[in-house]
Symmetry: C2
Subunit: 281 residues, 2 copies
């Protein structure tokens, strides 16, 4: 595949990062994953705004920011993805500094920009039949609203899910369910959708915003309130939502079957409307 | 400088990491910093044991681990550091996996190994006169005992110190002082040394162990108990301890002068004994 790296479009196998890149030494950077539908980027502005929030939080000065949309378009073209479903991955780090030192390098240090485009992995079966998930202690830092590449707890938790034949691990912080390793999490109780409120413990998910807008549109009541782990049994439905998982029904949490192991009705309604919006031109 | 990268000794400017290295994408790796005194490595085994703990925690399989001591020796020689004070930096990541996916790659994926040797930055003035520090909320994850490269909160906090003309930021978690961004933290109250107990909130510092051994040896009573932020005023002395900062007196915390702005007596005794041990052959 052709990727974009610091101003150049090159083959990914010819792309090399310095070992002194602060992304490699300190995870000193942010990322975004954007959906391309085969016709357009979905919610590009929302991802772009969040990218900007991350850069500001980390105080990374990136003057070429406004070129990103064109680069993404170009990568879709160069990789023959124009009529395919794809994902754009954007990573920006604080750049190279030597010798290794936590302190920010010289103000003129150029950020490292790595962007690629890949085919969207299919997950039709999961969307239709639902998935199992497990729960795990939320050991992450307390700025989960910032999409940094400091992802080691997410890596470990996602691997744990895989080893237990589950599709995702959802984090629990002091009894409250926050979100998954790469998804937001929703439940339905008495017909009302619940998802964790925006705070420093939860990523402000782009799909989360889309889903809440759908709830408004098709009159599903919703509350931005934490679901407590101990209350899981009271809920009729659960779903995972994200750019890569769309709206995926959850049919089992640990050993507890949800909705008799079938995707829930409200989840189905939201999923249907979500794909309507995603695929509208 | 000549560095070691995946089996080769090469010039650092010719060393390139794949953008698909999990160190770059996920901070999926660990590191160590080892002191070379100009004659020997200091506490090499302690660093090596902690490296191993980190690899086990992350489940990174690294069969070439036992070669690391020889590689470190070789780097000292190749960079003409044999009679100089130096630092060895060792970083091991889970290696390259493509496409990007949180889940661990194929079991046969080779870890990425990056090791360099650099001159020890001098800090004699700080050792003699002491330093100012600031306090900040401990926003890090809850596995601070594992020395991963997920260091973004440390980067941000250390930069904050620099911007406030301080040498270090020391973290406070729910009122309890844990440690600095790259140091452990000790206080002296009524002649007794206090430092945070080992737990998942504190790195088991190699220098911390050395300092506690010194306390035993020269009869300084010590307690592995948290210092509370609200109790700082009750302490006579404070010090930062680490491989790169040795035993550095703290003479001011935020706006509070410690010991009339002079390095404390017990800090001095420990510092003296520390350098005796460090420099003994």
């Amino acid at each position: 595949m052709i990727i974009y790296f610091n101003g150049q479009y090159i083959d990914e196998d010819s792309c090399y990062v310095s070992p002194y890149d602060r992304g490699f030494l300190f995870s000193d950077g942010i990322y975004e994953v954007v959906r391309y539908t085969g016709k357009k980027f979905f919610e590009f502005d929302s991802h772009f705004t969040r990218l900007d929030t991350g850069l500001n939080f980390l105080k990374i000065k990136f003057s070429q920011k406004d070129k990103i949309p064109d680069i993404c378009e170009e990568l879709i073209k160069k990789n023959d993805l124009s009529d395919k479903e794809a994902l754009i991955y954007i990573q920006i780090t604080r750049g190279i500094s030597k010798p290794r030192n936590h302190i920010f390098p010289d103000m003129n240090t150029l950020p490292t920009v790595f962007i690629n485009a890949t085919l969207l992995p299919k997950h039709d079966k999961e969307l239709e039949n639902g998935v199992n998930i497990i729960l795990d202690e939320d050991i992450r830092w307390s700025r989960c609203n910032i999409k940094t590449i400091s992802l080691i707890p997410n890596v470990l938790a996602r691997q744990k899910a895989k080893e237990r034949n589950a599709a995702e691990t959802v984090f629990v912080r002091e009894g409250f369910i926050t979100e998954g390793t790469h998804t937001n999490f929703c439940g339905v109780n008495n017909g009302c959708l619940f998802t964790a409120p925006l705070s420093n413990y939860v990523l402000p998910g782009v799909t989360r915003k889309v889903v809440l807008d759908i709830c408004k549109k098709i009159n599903i009541p919703f509350k931005e309130e934490f679901i407590k782990e101990k209350d899981i049994k009271l809920f009729e439905e659960f779903m995972l939502i994200s750019t890569t998982m769309d709206v995926t029904p959850v049919i089992q949490i640990e050993n507890l079957q949800i909705n008799n192991g079938k995707p829930g009705m409200i989840t189905g309604k939201i999923q249907k409307e979500y794909f309507n919006i995603l695929n509208s031109v």
